[in-house]
């Protein structure tokens, strides 16, 4: 059966695509990744392709940590049709899976026909699947194939078609930029430029908006920006703190931090009615709210015990419970999609790591070894997280698998980058 998938161009705003891209360096991989051959796709057109689709797929799968794609220069044959596949060539290389395909010009864009083979059992897993994209959609095409291959082999939904938002600081020109890019850092777009700090960007659950803090009025204020139309709405402009917005799971509310009543407290705002509810009431610092999966609790950072630790409050009222006890600095928690873990910034021996904690047992696991790690944001499949760190004194984004097995760094070629937020799945 032939399935045609046409990608609508989500890149309507692509006129502002910046040239500087994030490049990926894998710093640590798992011991025994699954070997897979992604054969360079046969191309029937005359005008050279602007992207190397099979290379992008190989890089996607390598970054997941679970796959070890074969270098094309080591391949013994380059099949593009089923009749050319010689399983022995791939068994010799230890390859368990094989992807082949053909790209043809189609209207103003391209059409890929690809297949996935199980080399060990010599079975076809995906047969002549067709993907059609517009002329600027080759990277979308590649990520789509990566998602399909990854999910079929691992049973886990792929996140290669998701995006990230982050803040880039161009110190030389004193400019802060809210950026959007593919999850691999490619195709960065500027969403907003400001001469004053931007921080705490976070995706809405429907993937259509982003909430963030901007100092453009010389004080912090919370904004929501529609990613398709670019339209911005100022949500708060109180005296004092206006910070740390976090969307409720249903997307109807934001949890946020205000100090309008004299002290840093957590509130929620209903975006339709603009009604505020106060969640915390303590003379200590309460900040960095995030929603529990049930939408009925808010998890936040507080120094009410003397040092920053993670607490949980019932929105309906009824007390606050401390969740973290290991170490004297735990902050900025995010709840994993399974609802059973949080990730957070965790200080150990004076070094700031990203750690996960199982909520049931309280067991803490340190995921990163670098110093000054912050802003963890979990991928929607719960398998990876992205965070901010420093490389050679410059802000960089890095990713680590939730089992701490694979790490990679996305050093920016321009500016300090920080505060990544991983998008949800796009429908």
């Amino acid at each position: 059966m032939r399935v045609v998938i046409v990608f609508l161009l989500a890149w309507l705003l692509s006129s502002s695509v910046a040239h500087a891209e994030l490049t990926i360096r894998i710093t640590q991989g798992v011991d025994n990744p699954t070997v897979i051959g992604i054969v360079p796709f046969n191309y029937t057109g005359t005008i050279p392709l602007p992207e190397n689709v099979s290379d992008i797929i190989s890089n996607d799968l390598r970054r997941s940590g679970q796959f070890g794609p074969i270098d094309p220069s080591h391949m013994l044959s380059y099949p593009s049709h089923q009749e050319d596949v010689i399983y022995r060539d791939w068994r010799l290389l230890g390859s368990e899976y094989l992807v082949i395909g053909n790209i043809d010009p189609k209207d103003s864009g391209y059409q890929l026909t690809y297949s996935l083979y199980d080399v060990v059992s010599q079975q076809i897993m995906i047969s002549n699947q067709v993907v059609v994209v517009e002329s600027n959609g080759l990277r979308d095409m590649a990520h789509h194939v990566s998602d399909a291959v990854y999910e079929l082999i691992t049973g886990i939904r792929g996140v290669f078609s998701t995006h990230i938002i982050y803040v880039e600081h161009q110190k030389a020109v004193r400019q802060y930029r809210l950026m959007r890019a593919d999850m691999d850092g490619a195709r960065p777009q500027v969403l907003l430029k400001s001469s004053e700090p931007l921080l705490s960007p976070t995706w809405s659950p429907d993937g259509q908006s982003v909430a963030y803090v901007s100092f453009e009025t010389s004080r912090p204020a919370i904004f929501v920006q529609n990613l398709l139309t670019g339209k911005r709405q100022q949500i708060t402009n109180f005296k004092g703190l206006n910070g740390a917005p976090a969307w409720s799971p249903d997307g109807r509310k934001l949890a946020l931090v205000l100090s309008k009543d004299g002290n840093s407290e957590i509130y929620t705002i209903d975006l339709a009615s603009r009604r505020f509810s106060r969640i915390t009431n303590h003379f200590g610092i309460d900040t960095e709210p995030t929603w529990a999966a049930d939408g009925k609790h808010i998890i936040f950072t507080s120094n009410r015990g003397g040092k920053p630790q993670i607490y949980r409050a019932n929105i309906a009222g009824g007390g606050v419970q401390r969740l973290t006890f290991e170490g004297n600095y735990n902050a900025r928690a995010q709840v994993a999609p399974d609802g059973k873990h949080i990730v957070m910034v965790h200080r150990r021996a004076n070094v700031f790591h990203i750690a996960s904690q199982e909520l049931g047992t309280g067991q803490v696991r340190v995921l990163t070894e670098t110093n000054l790690d912050e802003s963890p944001s979990i991928a929607p499949n719960g398998a990876l997280l992205i965070y901010a760190t420093k490389v050679n004194g410059k802000g960089a984004l890095a990713s680590v698998s939730m089992d701490a097995g694979t790490k990679f760094i996305l050093p920016s070629t321009s500016g300090d980058v920080r505060e990544p937020s991983w998008s949800p799945y796009f429908k």
Binding site: P220, S264, I285, T287, A331, R332, L372, K390, G393
Partner: protein, 164 residues
């Protein structure tokens, strides 16, 4: 005069729980004790010498107060400078902006809350000294380091409140 001083001291203790032990103001800290003494001598003896008074009331050129890591407690050594600013503001009221900052360690939003708390400590102290100027507080957290580096010296320079 004595009455007023006691009232101010009580005010300091009551307003800001985060100030380091109030008792150290008068007893253990030699710097602030010295400043207190000179204050009273100026007010008692120098009433007729206006030129001296205005020089004494000039805003100090030093405008930065430093803090310990993850702390918004005013350091004892900041008091002399705070008192001088308070005096200048009382003599020449103007609207003031206090900008709170943090070092890069720890999380950004927590650091913004911490920077605000540091600025609030300074504000509470100035108000307790009888300053009536409007005092705006804004925190930038770790966004505007005074020294852009990742070492102890830079971190110390960056944990600060600036009077503007």
């Amino acid at each position: 005069m004595l009455n007023k001083t006691i009232k101010a001291a009580v005010g300091i203790c009551a307003v800001s729980l985060f100030l380091s032990a109030c008792s150290s103001t008068s007893t253990t800290d030699p710097n602030s004790a010295g400043v207190d003494a000179s204050d009273s001598s100026v007010t008692t003896s120098g009433s007729g010498i206006s030129s001296v008074t205005s020089a004494e009331d000039a805003a100090p050129s030093e405008t930065v107060f430093y803090f310990d890591f993850d702390s918004s407690v005013l350091r004892p050594e900041s008091r002399a400078l705070l008192n001088a600013h308070a005096k200048a503001l009382k003599a020449n009221p103007r609207s003031v902006r206090l900008e709170g900052h943090a070092d890069e360690r720890g999380t950004r939003e927590y650091n913004i809350a911490l920077g605000e708390r540091r600025a609030q400590s300074v504000r509470a102290y100035l108000l307790a000294q009888g300053v009536v100027s409007s005092i705006e507080v804004v925190s930038y957290g770790e966004e505007y380091p005074a020294v852009d580096a990742s070492n102890e010296y830079a971190w110390q320079q960056n944990r600060r409140v600036e009077i503007k």
